[in-house]
Amino acid sequence: MSTQSTDTTGTTATPPSALRRALSGSAGRNLGLVVALAVIFAVGTITDGAGFAGLDNILVILRQASVIGVISIGMTFVILAGGIDLSVGAVLALASVVATADALQDVIVENTHWIMLVVIALATGFLAGLINGVVIAYGKVAAFMATLAMMVGARGLAELVSGNRNTLVDSSEFKRAFNVDILGVDILIWIFVLVAAAGWILLNRTTFGRRTVAIGGNREAARLSGIKVKRHTMWLYALAGTCAGIAAVMMLARTTTGTATHGNLYELDAIAAVVVGGTLLIGGRGTITGTVFGVLIFSTLSNVFVQLNLSSSVQAVAKGIIIVVAVLLQQRFASRPGQ
């Protein structure tokens, strides 16, 4: 490293140690994900022909991935810090019914602007996440239990708010605003891209991201270095809740309906995507890029299964196998003595 300043040619071969280090680093772990995605894609192309690899179908896959994708970005932060959030699916449902509740829609949305619908959904997600965060960070309740309680409670509250009916989005401006393509790509996909990019920057370029990794890597060391671990933990869950709120807006855009059954089991899909993407469940290591690949792997897989007319039960079995195989492979990668 120290000899680089004297290197004037700029074209000398990379030393093998640097290459090996790169491979055993995050790039190497992501390489495995690229290969996995390519294999699934190849299987789809071979079995289904040109239709599968066509642009239209790729956009379908991406659109399918977008809602889970946004949730998974928030989940990545929580898991990186050594936590877990089981409530995101239920919070999504709650946000969708609160934003479309008759009383709110009549009063606020009709009299102000459709954007209020988005604001309400995000605020609901944020608040639910904040409650999780406060209970976990300051109440010292295990994240698993606190978010399990929120999962049950938010789903129930969603049923109460909606009266167990589907509530329609009234605002035609909202529907129009989200029913557009930009450069031929659905706006939901753009939202996913934006959230992922923002998540990447937040994780890799800001103190917030670095603190998250530090807390996941060694909570006590982070605390003794002066990092406000409790406050940070609280914001992490608020972030995950906000992502669920964004996902709720996307569901409203896609279905124009709010219902207490939205987002069922999404928390498990998101956790699976994050873990398959290489984030350690104990925290301290993980990447946004990996999570994006994790999400794409699952949505491509389910697309392949749909194209092949296989039942969702077969799909679930395959998903389970993939999770186990991916984690096994990653452990091999991680434990390889690269340095």
Binding site: R21, T207, R210, V213, S225, G226
Partner: protein, 494 residues
């Protein structure tokens, strides 16, 4: 038992080690960190398998291919990192993995009886076999670890730095146990950094350096200390402690602790630290030294008294406020409390100083690396590659990361809890010089060490702590090791 002979070909961690151990002897293994001691004992314990070389057990070639086969041969190991399960009782820990069973059911009463027997043999009959291990002190956990080793039918026991977590009295008890074991014909391989202990109990010594044995099977009685140090370091080691220039009388008081107390742990502790002064806390393990320092730092909440930094009172129980006021703690447990082992060196160094490298929350990684590089050069941290994970460094260099962290932050009051724990002799001198240089540069420093000699050699002022009370504040030039122990004995007896 004829003894063990091991020879390794050109492998990385171990490059040819010869060692034989006779029944009933204490064979000491000496060497700096990274010399290969831990790797060697892991080979004996069956954790690693050697690439080449052979191991003779009772004159016959033995093949240890796993921890269980080592135990079957009669080799038990006590690791440096205490390997006990906190949630289980003492008896359950001792019989973990080889429970006394009949028809698949554990025989609890038999285990408890056998545990009581083992604890008695180790001089700790007062411990209840039903006590949960998580509630024990480090010294007591070590007893459990030793009892577990003895619960097997063993002929050789390996102890990796058993005295590191023990205070004087506990060490005496350890020696007594070791002597009892050897009188029963059990051989002991004893690893330590403390030469005095080798003199006290060792029969023969093997010195390792860079993965090879530089001297094998020396008789302790015939080998002078300077010879041992030369074998270890390749050079003679003279006065390890840097000279004390003395603190100026008009140096400002930067840290003022007044009547600090925490219920159940310590009370009424008052002292002052001036700029450029090193204050050392001496006392036995469990006397409350770490608790005092952690309370000053706000990591524990004080129940009485106050801490002033340059005249300004610190709020209780706020690490954040302490760090902003210029305090920095290098905690006792470097790995579990200080470092994020998987993260690169530079990120560990800048962990407390994000504000300096961030604009509106966005980090400038280039500036971080530059600042880390400066400290790496200034502290002579090796290897000097900021991108390596902290786990790749030796104990002494990991300690330097923690110093660098606070230097980058601009902290001027450093609280160093056991800064040389697990650091080898050569690197210790370097750490001492570094701490003194920091004091000379005007920083105020509080050092805790279980080695009284270290406190006396390093500090300007010594605080003697016993049973959670400040027994005495003395100038370090006016007291010796015996004086400190005397104070501790008198103070804790009262």
């Amino acid at each position: 038992m004829r003894g063990i002979k091991k020879r390794f070909g050109p492998v990385k961690a171990l490059r040819g080690v010869d060692l034989d151990v006779a029944p009933g002897e204490v064979h000491c293994l000496l060497g700096q960190n990274g010399a290969g001691k831990s790797t060697l004992i892991k080979v004996l314990a069956g954790v690693h398998s050697p690439d080449t070389g052979e191991l003779l057990w009772h004159g016959e070639r033995a093949n240890i291919d796993g921890p269980q086969s080592a135990i079957d041969l009669g080799i038990a190991t006590m690791y440096q990192e205490l390997d006990v399960v906190d949630g289980l009782t003492i008896a359950e820990n001792i019989f973990l993995g080889h429970e006394l069973t009949r028809g698949g059911f554990t025989q609890r009463s038999a285990q408890v009886a056998r545990t009581r027997e083992l604890l008695n043999r180790l001089g700790h009959g007062s411990l209840s076999p039903h006590a949960e291990v998580g509630s024990l002190s480090a010294a007591e956990k070590q007893i459990v670890s030793m009892a577990r080793a003895l619960s097997h039918d063993i002929e050789l026991i390996i102890m990796d730095e058993p005295s590191a977590v023990l205070d004087g009295e506990e060490v005496d008890n350890l020696f007594r146990v070791v002597k009892e074991l050897t009188s029963q014909g059990i051989a002991v391989i004893y690893i330590t950094h403390r030469l005095a202990e080798i003199r006290a109990i060792g029969d023969r010594i093997t010195v390792l350096k860079d993965g090879a044995s530089t001297a094998s099977n020396l008789l302790v009685a015939d080998t002078p200390t300077d010879v041992l140090i030369r074998h270890m370091t390749g050079r003679a080691l003279k006065n390890v402690f840097p000279p004390r220039p003395g603190v100026a009388h008009d140096a400002p008081v930067v840290l003022d602790v007044e009547g600090l107390g925490r219920s159940g742990e310590f009370d009424d502790v008052s002292f002052q630290v001036r700029a450029g002064e090193i204050v050392g806390l001496a006392g036995l393990v469990g006397s409350g030294r770490s608790e005092i320092v952690e309370t000053i730092y706000g990591a524990r909440q004080a129940s009485e008294g106050s801490v002033f930094v340059r005249g300004a009172k610190l709020p209780r129980g706020s690490v954040d406020a302490a760090v902003s006021a210029g305090l920095g703690l290098s905690p006792e447990e470097r790995k579990s409390q200080g470092l994020i082992l998987g993260e690169p060196i530079f990120r560990n160094i800048t962990l407390s100083s994000f504000a300096r490298f961030a604009k509106a929350g966005f980090l400038d990684e280039g500036a971080e690396k530059t600042a880390a590089d400066e400290q790496i050069a200034a502290l002579e941290l090796r290897p000097a590659d900021p991108a390596l994970p902290a786990s790749a460094l030796s104990g002494g260099n990991q300690q330097k990361i923690l110093l660098a962290r606070w230097l980058v932050h601009g902290s001027s009051i450093l609280l160093l809890d056991e800064p040389t724990r697990g650091v080898d002799v050569g690197a210790r001198a370097e750490i001492y010089a570094l701490i003194r240089a920091l004091a000379d540069a005007g920083n105020a420093i509080v050092v805790i060490s279980s080695e009284i000699e270290e406190v006396l050699g390093l500090a300007d002022t010594v605080l003697v702590i016993g049973d959670g009370r400040l027994l005495s504040t003395v100038d370090s030039s006016e007291i010796d090791e015996h004086g400190v122990l005397d104070l501790v004995m008198k103070g804790t007896a009262a």
